[in-house]
Symmetry: C2
Subunit: 382 residues, 2 copies
């Protein structure tokens, strides 16, 4: 097996586990948050800046990398680690989620999906075999099964969700058979089933009977309410093998992460800290701040007084950050993304400490944002 | 006087001087290159990244800072140093050049200039007194006289150039009288006169009879040929006081800088390394590279093999940089700007070494780009 989960401690208060995952490119602590470097680049941040946030593993999006610069091109460097100069663990998604959510035109059948490239409009055919070959070329430490991802559960008939779930299991068998580098790259299976708990149960059973180094929960946070997210994760996480990493894909807000950790999830990724950072929305322990708001125009305080990120500790004020966004300066997205990713990593540190000390209630006291129904940015819109 | 030039050595080969300038925010070595942080921010670079290039002094544009965030707002922080977190010398221009070159509508008279704000279209009135007050508020170590800057000499009748030159001298008297902080901020006068050497001579005489801590050559590299730039600078630089810093504004390409240093100029600023960096044009000792070119798609070499910038020494390849620009990733402009600014600072180090060792011809051998008539990017357009 390419990776190994070492469980260091279990919470006595809930299902959370403290651990570390050993990979061919080093170790990462769990529960872990992985920021997203879509096209083999974190938007606006150098790898050194990403390291400064305490991030130990990052995510690349396979579909983006396939379409530009091309998986073969990355493979000429050895792997994405060398290409983007990130000498630490990387995870690639399968491209399935992007194909289903971003592509303009598509046909879907039991063999795969056809859609138009968002780069040049060319027709692209994705199958489990195509995805795994691309992921083998990109060379991440953890790779993901190519699955059928229907959009937000509420809009989709249960029969479509069931079909997607069955198709994903069938495709997982093909992914495992196609995987050429199982000793170097750990393939994770993905449990689907939307918000239908009976489908989640069947998907978990059929996915986990395929022997793999880790398992993920997919199809969550695709439009449902926070309560539905929580219900689905609390139900599904315990159905995944205890001894292997559990990964909740694409989630989410701090509160969603904390709930999932308590349910036994070990790994997370989300674009929120960087995407919101580019839009002048700063996360804090208390909630989020819209830095474009006029009330920050003369605010000499940092985003958060006790934050150790390069932006806050570097003395950049809310007033300066607001100015950068007003003036359209690239440095604004960089500095707020730096803060937001560090905020997420500070949350993960606090979560790991809470597990280690069996002090979950202190975590919720220290992080008021975990109690909010959803991150509500403070301050009126300009 | 707010600043002091210490001349350490004079070239035996030409008019170049090796020195250092002492300012209220520290020392910078001369000949010096100042990268441009227009709106109190270097585009895409943190102050720490700017420091990594060896830059010791940077430039802010007064007009940009006045219009957004406002000079009063910066003054609440003490000065631009605190506002933008650059704890080293800063120079501000007067806003004159921007008012004359960027503003849509304007009226010009002996009192000042009126134009439309590029931020919100509001009418803005700039006079010597308005500029100096703004520069006093922004608080740079070196501030510049507000002058009348006609555009590229070739398009402008000599009478207009003569008028601008006389007006600039009259305005310089008003700038000096309006300057409220001469002990903390050094006001430089600016010699005008376009490419008309007789006007340059008169401007230099009338400007330098006003006692000031430094003098600049303005109105150069506003559209003339490299030969005209060289002729003007070679003629004008020796007319400025020997004991005080000489600053050639807005210049230029490496060759222009080397020629001006040999004529006795000490200070330079230019947007080329950052503006071209944002457009995927990388400077090298050999000349410039257009990194968008398809020939770099699989080029694993850094921009320059022997460069010590964070981009080259960090192992980022030409292929990766090309990918970043193809994908529209912000990291591309950041990494190439980092390289280009460092390239300019490496040039200044080499120039200072050439002066110190009286080895100017070795400089030209080591820096082939100094011999080119103009930086010609290599590689065909895509």
């Amino acid at each position: 097996m390419a990776i190994r989960l070492e469980i260091l401690q279990r919470s006595s208060e809930n299902g959370a586990r403290l651990g570390r995952v050993h990979t061919p490119h080093g170790v990462f602590d769990t529960p872990a948050f992985m920021p997203v470097a879509t096209a083999a680049a974190m938007k606006g941040l150098t790898p050194e800046q990403v390291r400064s946030t305490g991030s130990q593993i990052i995510l690349n999006n396979t579909l983006h990398c396939m379409l530009r610069p091309g998986a073969e091109r990355i493979a000429k460097f050895g792997s994405s680690h060398a290409f983007m100069r990130w000498n630490a663990p990387i995870l690639t998604d399968s491209g399935g989620f992007q194909a289903f959510s971003m592509a303009d035109i598509r046909t879907l059948d039991d063999d795969g999906v056809t859609f138009s490239s968002f780069v040049d409009g060319a027709k692209v055919r994705m199958t489990p075999e195509v995805s795994i070959r691309a992921q083998n070329l990109i060379g991440a430490d953890i790779i993901m099964a190519f699955d059928d991802c229907p959009p937000a559960a509420a809009e989709v008939p249960m029969e479509r969700v069931r079909e997607a779930m069955h198709r994903s299991v069938a495709w997982l068998h093909r992914c495992k058979a196609a995987h050429a580098r199982p000793d170097a790259q750990a393939l994770f299976g993905i449990v689907q089933g939307g918000t239908h708990l009976e489908l989640r149960k069947e998907s978990a059973a059929r996915t986990c009977e395929i022997e793999l180094p880790g398992y993920a929960i997919g199809g969550v946070a695709v439009g449902e309410s926070p309560e539905r997210i929580a219900d689905t994760v609390r139900f599904t996480a315990p159905l995944l093998p205890d001894a292997k990493p559990r990964y909740l894909m694409g989630v989410g807000y701090p509160r969603d992460i904390a709930i999932a950790v308590a349910a036994g999830v070990d790994m997370f990724d989300c674009v929120l800290p960087t995407r919101n950072g580019r839009n002048a929305l700063a996360f804090t322990r208390e909630g989020a701040l819209r830095l474009r708001n006029a009330r920050f125009a003369d605010d000499q305080a940092p985003i958060e007084a006790d934050c150790d990120c390069q932006t806050c500790a570097g003395g950049f004020s809310r007033a300066y950050l607001r100015h950068l966004f007003s003036a359209g300066e690239m440095l604004g997205p960089t500095l707020v993304s730096l803060h937001n990713v560090r905020l997420y990593q500070r949350l993960m540190l606090a979560i790991r400490r809470a597990i280690g000390c069996n002090a979950w209630s202190a975590l919720e006291t220290d992080w008021p944002c975990l109690s909010a129904a959803r991150e509500q940015p403070t301050g009126d819109p300009e």
